[in-house]
Symmetry: D2
Subunit: 335 residues, 4 copies
């Protein structure tokens, strides 16, 4: 296992997580949850899709729902990253081709040139450099509501093969900032990988996968996260809380998790930090160190570890490293 | 000058400041300022009146505007306090009659039994014990907006004769919590008087008067006060800020002051404290101690000291104690 | 069951909760928990006692620990209220004597005249009007730490006979602000009683009792409560968290609960509201309405309901109304 | 004037602002101001230097003071940026050499390889890639104090030739995010340039220069900025406030400015936003649009525009574009 900085010779520049595409059985219910509840802005809504974004985002969407007519549980359709320019996308196309990946350019509404492939563990991912722009709501403060969510920050993938994910993303220049390893070994259980200037754009944790465990929006103020919970309760959505407030040791996030009407899990959090310098060493946490998951606060309930959104058409495989952290249920027994 | 606790033999119980009644030349503009801007709730609005209240208030209004058809500058019509019960009001009627005051019962919309008179320095004041009740917005968090104002806390009266005001309100059981005196003397320049459990229901400061200098709403979070300013700016109301954020030494309030469309001045503030015990001694501040007015922050501009809302029909008299604190304009010259 | 306002003919004026007296097996550990962790100020500490108070308190203590040399679990020694003046205390002495209560004046360090008796359900309570005064830390902002706790607000008593407690305290002028009743009946399960201007000075909830369930300090900012948890975690005290953050429906408090080194439970909370007016009606909550206990957030664990500090020498009796709210453990099973 | 994205062919990667080096006449006074007051961490202090850093910083210092024995007013010695690796530094050395710049490697305590030169407008700047590392205080929450400053974010240079600065930094890959231009013209008055993921690492504004106008630390919570002011006031440092709280239109920062014991100006601020994407267009503000400088709040006093720290040994030249924004003094006259 190497914790070296990413290869500088990669011929394209991935800059950040861009957006997430999910299914919804009822776009109106989904809209109520994200717009009225959490305070995201709706930028498009018709019979088939719903697009949303956060306060400081100028791109068209960071969250996109596609309507499904079946009663299937929520599925993830794809996750997407930005590259800096269309030239990067073209160089990436050549690069992936040469690697033997099934890569293709696809048409996506509101987006510029878009590249599509599967990552090393089977997650459908796309890359684009541009998106339809419009002024953000940042300085229209009277429209800030719910959790005053500022921007889409990261996704977490429940992953059957974390080392393979680590290898694949490292090769693209993603950098490891923190990680969990099985106590006293080199076996990685969870990895925090990033391109932008903070601790993560994508996280992989060991579980049946690949599945989308959650996506996360950042908000700078602690009180906004509490206010989001208050608003959700006001609206009759209190029981969508999936994990009570606490602070992660990893990444330092103060968080609350919710489940949307289709069961997709969203984290709202604050208090990330900058990782930019070459001499910033990845921080290691032992799997059994509960401070890793909660510096304080109760552990997550069983379902937080077991439930996640499948990627449509992608086979879920059992985890290579089958070691489970303590659940809330177990914690209460031994307390 | 006596700083003794109020007379326990007063035959009625004034409990708190209740509401303020002001003129408006344009109720729609007034509504935009207070509802859309600062986040108060409108409980009544027709061609002649506009009633508003804050988040935790269950009574019908704490702020009432009466439409005037002239282009007169904003005038205050009356200030009002609560007594505990109608029995208190009746005993108060007898008490004031006996004192020779011109006291009368008046009809007021949305209020129960209401007593009217003038205080010792000419301010029209009213007392009631009950008001039409409805559930507050406290737990409808999705409706909290602007400064998330919690309750009407106090008024400040620009007053030509502060000692007389002190005497009159002390006789009714108001208690002095903090005060400003001319350096090294017993001459009171400003007095903080209270009935409820914090530092003030009414403040008198030496100036031409009586005039309503401002009324003040409390909000518990510092960030809500800043957010109110942000929202006002979003709405094109940034230039209604009358005094930039700062912290008063007296009362410990973190504040911003605004002027409404008719020139009425409103303070939004946080960080008051409890005053309940008999052994709590009034805190004295010297007039020239600028920490009194701003523990930090710039002094108030000249207009903050000179402009205030006249009470309709009440003659304004020059102050007995004509000592002026440093204005922002003077401060900048000597800095 | 009567929900009438308190009897105005009570010949003395109880003003607020004053302080709580508890045992400690190790005053240094206790001090570390409350001073270094939660940020209270130590005003006295020797081999036998430890006195603490909060930021805006000018009285000598609101929390007092007496050292015990045995390894007994934490016990409560007494709870104390303020009356307005020594004259009130003397009238109260006569009143209680006439009622046949075993009332006496006792000597207490740092306090003025102090009255001692047992309340109607066996809790040892004391009353005083004055306490040694010193300037608070309110405007020494550089000393504010931990949860920036502002003042002792209330206690909660686990009580075998809630109706009797209600009767006894009502007779002294305590007023009911909110309450929980067994669904569809008049049987009170929990009562919020107050003298000062907010929702509670003392709460009684149905359980084996009397025992001190917790005492609670108020802090105005949500973020201070989160910061307290962060600080506790930094200091290795994360596992003293007894109940994760949430918002009570009753009283509207955003809360966290901790257990101190002797097992005493402390709540830190924000967001109470004013109750002053006669027309403020007590708010009823059904026992099975979980929003009562948590507007949002997970239910409290079993121990939160079962464990509490016994009053030394006072027999604990089983509850008259043996109806238990859902515990976290039960909630997780059915989720 | 070109607003194009930076040249992708630059053979080195500047990543962010690193640190600032200033003079101090009295290191103890300087320490009291920054450590006790604003809450920075001291990482080194002897008779000749004082090193400080913010909460999440793992490098040795972001602020370094060198003791001077004269009574000269505060001077800036140099500003410094990070490159990603030592290889970048070496390529930069060659690049600058080829451009004819007087570039050299210098020894700096606690730093790795360090490159020194003057920028296009005469500012002494240095680049390094590594610095002595130690665990940050991020998760030692009990040590967070003052303004809870998170990281050094940017500097502002009072500059006689803003277009030349723009050209020089653009050539190094700095990107323009917002700018002020003389109304209706292409003449740039102020430019916000960045390498990291937010709006600025360095700002140039038109004035006599080059001089260091201020350096700025970021903190995520609005209330921490207010608390910093409270703490400064508690410590007798209230009059070091150089500009009262307000919100800049440019960059969206909620700010307070202070002057340290040597007159160096520091901004503490929150609420920046991400700029990462290629399709993010620089935002233009007209010079006479006061919302540029204050979305709300009073304008800065005259001294804020005229006073700044000279760079030792560097000649100050008059500005090419001599257009001054409205000062607080002028604003008050016309109000």
């Amino acid at each position: 296992m190497s914790l070296l900085a990413p290869n500088a010779d990669i011929p394209f520049n991935i800059t950040r997580l861009s957006h997430v595409v999910l299914t919804s059985r009822d776009l109106d219910k989904t809209r109520f949850f994200y717009e009225t509840g959490l305070g995201l802005e709706v930028t498009a809504h018709d019979d088939t899709i719903l697009c949303l974004r956060a306060i400081e985002e100028t791109g068209h969407h960071s969250l996109l729902f596609e309507k499904i007519t079946t009663q299937d549980e929520g599925m993830a359709l794809r996750t997407a990253y930005r590259m800096f320019s269309d030239d990067d996308l073209k160089r990436a196309f050549d690069y992936f081709k040469e690697c033997g990946e099934a890569v293709e350019f696809v048409e996506r509404p509101y987006q510029g040139l878009t590249l599509r492939l599967f990552d090393g563990v089977g997650v459908p991912i796309e890359f684009c450099a541009t998106m339809e722009q419009s002024e953000s709501r940042m300085q229209r403060f009277h429209t800030h509501a719910g959790g005053r969510l500022a921007f889409l920050d990261h996704i977490q993938i429940a992953c059957h093969d974390v080392p393979k994910a680590y290898q694949w993303y490292s090769n693209l220049g993603f950098r490891l900032t923190e990680y969990t390893a099985k106590d006293g070994t080199d076996e990685m259980w969870g990895i925090w990988l990033k391109r932008k200037n903070n601790t993560q754009d994508v996280v992989f944790s060991s579980a049946s996968g690949p599945r989308l465990h959650h996506f996360a929006y950042h908000t700078p103020e602690l009180s906004s996260i509490i206010h989001a919970a208050d608003v959700m309760a006001s609206l009759g959505l209190a029981d969508t809380m999936d994990r009570a407030p606490g602070r992660h040791g990893i990444g330092n996030a103060f968080f609350i998790y919710f489940r949307d009407p289709d069961g997709h899990r969203i984290e709202i959090f604050s208090s990330h930090y900058n990782v930019i310098d070459i001499d910033h060493k990845p921080k290691r946490w032992e799997l059994t160190d509960t401070r890793r998951s909660q510096l304080w606060g109760f552990p997550a309930p069983k379902k937080w570890f077991s439930e996640a959104s499948k990627f449509r058409g992608v086979t879920v495989k059992p985890p290579l490293l089958d070691a489970s952290p303590t659940t809330l249920e177990e914690y209460l027994i031994n307390r």
